[in-house]
Structure formats: C-alpha cells, structure tokens
Symmetry: C2
Subunit: 445 residues, 2 copies
Amino acid sequence: MTDYRRLRVALLGAGAVGSQVAALLRQHSAELADRAGAVLELVGIAVRDLDAPRETDLPRELFTTDAETLIVGSDIVIELMGGIEPARSYLLQAINSGADVVTANKALLATHGPEIFDAADQVGAEVYYEAAAAGAIPIIRPLRDSLAGDRVQRIMGIVNGTTNYILDRMDKEGAEFADVLADAQALGYAEADPTADVEGYDAAQKAAILASLAFHTAVPLDAVHREGITGIDKGMMDAARKAGYVIKLLAVCERLTGEAEASASGEAISVRVYPALVSREHPLASVHGANNAVFVQAEAAGNLMFYGAGAGGVQTASAVLGDVVSAARRHIAGGVGVGESTLANLPVVPIGRVTTSYQITLEVDDQPGVLATVAGILSEGRVSIATLEQTVIDDPAPGAADGGAARLVIGTHKAREQDLSDTVDRLAASGVVERVVSVLRVEGD
Amino acid sequence: MTDYRRLRVALLGAGAVGSQVAALLRQHSAELADRAGAVLELVGIAVRDLDAPRETDLPRELFTTDAETLIVGSDIVIELMGGIEPARSYLLQAINSGADVVTANKALLATHGPEIFDAADQVGAEVYYEAAAAGAIPIIRPLRDSLAGDRVQRIMGIVNGTTNYILDRMDKEGAEFADVLADAQALGYAEADPTADVEGYDAAQKAAILASLAFHTAVPLDAVHREGITGIDKGMMDAARKAGYVIKLLAVCERLTGEAEASASGEAISVRVYPALVSREHPLASVHGANNAVFVQAEAAGNLMFYGAGAGGVQTASAVLGDVVSAARRHIAGGVGVGESTLANLPVVPIGRVTTSYQITLEVDDQPGVLATVAGILSEGRVSIATLEQTVIDDPAPGAADGGAARLVIGTHKAREQDLSDTVDRLAASGVVERVVSVLRVEGD
C-alpha cells in the first residue's frame, strides 16, 4: 500500500448508509486501495450531534460538527445527510474547493440537480450518484455510459421497496392495504409516517433522476405526475390477478414522438409514477418483496432489466463505495471531469397527453340497453374496447336500480389519458353507472 | 455540431455487429456527438474481401483491406473481426499508436487479455469490451466500477443464448435435445456447427472474462472447467421439473475461502461452465428463450441481476457504441487511462475442490438391502443425503436382476466435487447399481 498516493475522503452524515460506508472504508482499506489505485483515507465524519448514539465502533475523534472545515482540503466528499439544506451548500462548497463528490441524495438531485452538475462542470469536477436512483442496483453507469450510444425509449422501474413489499403481500395474501401497511411498519419495512413511500414521492424523485439521465433532459420534480398506492384495495388486487395482471407502483419514463406542439422535432417525454397493471408474464411481475428493478427498452439494445436491493444501509453503501473508487481513479488519472453530456432538453408533456391502455371497472344497473350506453360513451370518447367482461353482483351498491347490478370490467386499447379521463367522467354522469370502481393503467404490454 | 472536436474512428470488421455499428454511427451522428462531446467520424472499415456481399448501404469508399494503414492516425479503433489473429496484432498496433480500443472479441480477451491490458497500461490507453461478456447487457461497468468498492462472492450467468433457447424449449415442450437443436439451426438460433455453443466453449470464454473482472485475477481460459449440454435429455428435464428445478447452462464464478493450500489468504476462485439444476423460484429460472442474464452476489450489495439480449447484431452494436462514446469522452477529457485495478491474482482451483449440492439419479436392483448399500457408499464417501425418492420402473435396463428395477433420485447436501465423483464411481462399481442415469449439480440454493 505504501506506493499509493493518499486521497483525503470526507464523509457528511453517519446514518444507516453513512455508518456502513465508514465501516467498509476502514475494514476493506487494503482492497479498496488496490481497486482505486490510491489509499482512501477517511479524514472525518460530519454529524449534527456528536453525542447521538451510534451503532458503530468508529473512533470518536473522526466525528465533527464542523462540516465546512472538514470539506476544506478533501479530495473526495461523500454526502449522505439527505435533505436539501445544508447538503446542497456543502456539496457546492466541496465542488468549488476542487473535490469530486459522491451523493445518495435523491431529493437534492431531483430538485437541484442542474445547479450541482453545472457547478461541477465549471471546475471540471465530477458528481457521482449511483446510490440515488435505485439503491444498490447499478443503473446510473448503464444509463450514462453503456447506453450512451443508444436511444432509450422507455424505462419502467419498481424503485420503491416499501410499496413493492406492501403490494406484493397484498397480492400474495389477499390482504387489505391498511393491514399490510401496519405490519410493514411493525417490521421496519415502512416508516411511522409512510407518506413519502406510499404516496409516491420517493419514487417520483427517482423517476426524475432516471429520466434526466436517460433522455439527457433536466426533468424538474414538479413535471413528474405522481399517484400513490393508498387507493389500491383487495378488490382491485383480486380483479388484477383474475385478469392475469399484478399491480405494481411503477416509475415510467417514456420518449414520445409526434408531439409537434411540444417540440420542433416532435419528440417529448413523459415521466410519471402510479400504480399500474403489469402482466404476470412481464419480468417486472416477478420482482417480489422489497426488491427493486429497472426495466429499460432501448432502440438497439432491446429490453434490459436491472434487479436488486433498492435500499438498506449496507446495500446502498456498496453503490456509494463504487462511486468513491471511481472518483479516486479519476483523481489519480487526471484530466477534467466528463460531466453530463450535452442536454437534449426534451419537453416534458403533462399526463393528459400520455397514451396507455386501461382497465376500467364499473358497477352498472343490470338492465337492457346499459351495455349499449356504456359502449356508446366510450366510442364517442375515442376509447376503443379491447376486452369486456360482465358479471352479475349479489351485493349491489346502495341505490342500485331494482333490476340488480352488474360489474363491467373493460380492457381498452391504447387511448390518450385526457380522452380516457373525460370519458370516465361522462360514464360516471351517465345515469347507468352506479359506481366507477377503479381505473388502472396497463403498462408493459 | 461545429463546436465539437472531430475524432477519427476506425472499424475493423463488417459482419453482423460491425455493419450495425457503422450504420448507427452514421445515422445517429448528431446525437452521438452530443453524448460524446466530439464528432465521431467513421474514417474507414477494414474487411478481408472488398467484394463480399454486404447488407448495408454504406459508401463503398469507406471499405479497405488495409487495416494497418487505417489504424494509423485513428483516435478510436473498434475491433469486430473476431478470432485471435490478425485481431490481436491490430489491437496492439492501435494501442501502441495512441488509440483507445473497443472490442467485442471474447475469444481474444479470454486468451490474450493480460497481454492487451498490459499494452494499454504501458501507454495510458484504455480497452473497452462491454460487448464481449454478455452482448447488450451492461455487465462490465457494473462489475468494474459500480461494484469496485464491494466484494463479489459469486456470479451465475446464463451467457449463451443458443443453449438457453434449446434448454428452454426442451423444458417447455418436453422435446429431445437433437430435435430442438435441428429446429434451432433451421431458425437461425444455432450455427450449422453448433459446437462452440452446445459444448460450452463460448460460455467458458465469457466466464473467464467475468471472473477476471469480478475477482481482479487473470483467469486463463484453460482454468475454466467446461461441460456442454449435449448429454441433457428429456428424462433429465422431466425429472428436474418434477423436483421443482429447471436445467440451465450456467457460467459460475465463485470466491472460495479456506483454501489454505491454494493461497496464503486462503482465498481462491472457481470458474466453471456446466448444465445445472436451478430452482424454479430463482430469478435465473425465468430467463427464457435466447435471453441472457447475469446474477451477482456481492458481500454488501446482496443479490443483483442483469438481464437482456445476449447476442444479435444490433443489440451488441448498442454495447459497442456505448464503449465508443466512453472512449471519446476519455479522449476529450485528457488524463491517462484508468486501466485495470491492481490484480489480486487469486489462484483458480480445479473442479474437484468445488462444493455444491447434487442430484444423483440411479437405476438399481429392486431388492432388499440395496438402499442400505447405496446409503453406505454415500456415507463412506462423505456425501450426505438430503432427499431421496425411490420409484419402481417398468422398463428396467437390460441385465437388471430378475427382481425388477427401481429408480433412485438422491438429492445431496453440499459435497466436494472430488468426493462426489469418487462416490459415484464406487456406486457404479457396487454391483447393486445398474446404471448411473445422471449426476447434476444444483446451483443457487
């Protein structure tokens, strides 16, 4: 090891991921030096509270509350604090003082990515963020480097472990959302306040990062359409299963063509997070438990899938350390940072312009002529029926006509979201529909 | 595009992959320039025969038979000729003349990798070979970069599309190997001479490349244990299915510990290609058709899987172009090549030292005491029985004892390969075993 140059590594944050990164940096120092071509010397760990209890045996003298002084003179700064501030200020300070930076901060990148990448470009530094998009799954390098000569058409990602755990158990056990959520909280798979996961905020941040990278476009977080899974119930799960589908919370990033209003080339993108029906034959359907997977369709490469643990302290630490080794190699090799490639800056279209197929479940009066009325409304709304199943139900909604009620499950051909939602509004107001039970998009067919 | 520097790109070979690479380089030149930060100018294509028919509309003046002159003055050389010579000489010439090189040549890397990487290190050039290990699936960057801070424990890869196609159809259709092979040849999924695929030579080359990268060790091709799939028949497939398994041709690269005879640290590796039983619950079991997948177990990252098309001209061209963009970015950024990290050079142990579990299928005399004899031989051989199923068979092998014959399917606990094969030899010679029907390893449990 004595032949290697020493690089000063500063760590900001000592939570679940940070403490694992620190431990692995020390534990595997000889091997990491061989990989990086440099000794990675952990010079300090900035934390908010020196006296907070820690589950590590790291030397106390490494800890400091003075992040700014720690950053000065560091070659590599690892930011694992999370949140926007002071993480943003520290990252910018690190970049401007000549360090390469590694971060797993998806909230920061999804909201301030362009500012941070621009700052790095200005000084020839590099920003590494493999752990920000899908935990331990290597997806950043494949998108940025391996597919750099290809054109990504579409990404469908299961990028939130908590919601996949919940949906997977609902599917397997026929349980209700609230029961599985409570159990997931008890087991530590879901936070006490599960909003960021179950409402899709976490997935939306990751979708913004993946889409930015895949389409060479700065995707602002508020351009990501977001729906959570709190409305998914046992009935929808059962119906999905019966129809050969499973419900997954998907982050969909899609390249659209023919969008002449949006751009001169007619190209635009859509970035959206919602629960969707996925065929049980699709590789994403077999992603179980808290695992994540990113399915990528590229023009030349065809279909690819990247699968693994989406979260977890030690798993995410693996991705962070891979970035640290890359940053060190770059420091040793010299040269300026490669930076992000020139942006294509495709416009992001609103959800109304997206085209998918749908499964619409309705409760209707079981009377002659009802089907004709429903079919007529769909046809007027430019929504074409692919499959239709009608079943008589024994427990009609209160207020159903005396003739009894029936359930209609309509699978549509591809339709534009705006047309579809207008049509569903008209169905609801038509007088023959007692209740719109559910409207779910179908992805990946 | 006018602001970009021009980089001269030379292409060696215009086969299925090469012609796609040339076409995409020209077709997507503006986008590739944005990605690379440089105009990628295809200055020539070296071929053996100028008059050979080509399925492309590439300008005739690009073609030349003089590869050596073409290489001179090129910034990036793409080698897609295949074979050892003259590919090796051209690559070395390119490296020594200051070019970065991209190759998809697995045979060359598996046999002359160290020579080529050393030559690149000497001059600070870089060798890119994403397309050499699993076609379009990004696996090289994840192993080299994303997992550089982790320790890979084991890789199990389905890295040959032809054999996966054959085994998948045998599994689904209950067909015999020879029939499916003939059909695969007619459909273009298998070559007229299928030896390289069905005997595992292609997979062994890829295994050597993957193991070299994962374990930072130069793995010579002849250290890879190799068995093909020609001995797999319908009976084995049926038995596997019945037991909850599927048979896949796997490339297994494994880190072993406790090998004190092999190395001071006790660490060693095993690299092997053979048909193995894989649980139907394992993610590799759902890799169908000609698709490939690489399942990686790493100490911190846990289980990862990379899935996609393992071959195909345009799919492989995607991986090659990603490498070309990376090479261009490096050329623009300056700095010396990162090169391979310091080798750990772990010893590769012979197959006899490998530990797996096994499924042994025997035809035995259906007589009292036979089971005790078999169990005794296994126990003496340090092979421990996990499961055992005995069925009477109606069509005993000729020469079976008058009492009839039975089939024994024995699932073992983990055992050392040498112990296992010695034990099977003793069983075969025991007098109570009429026929050793099959011995298959079980992987991934």
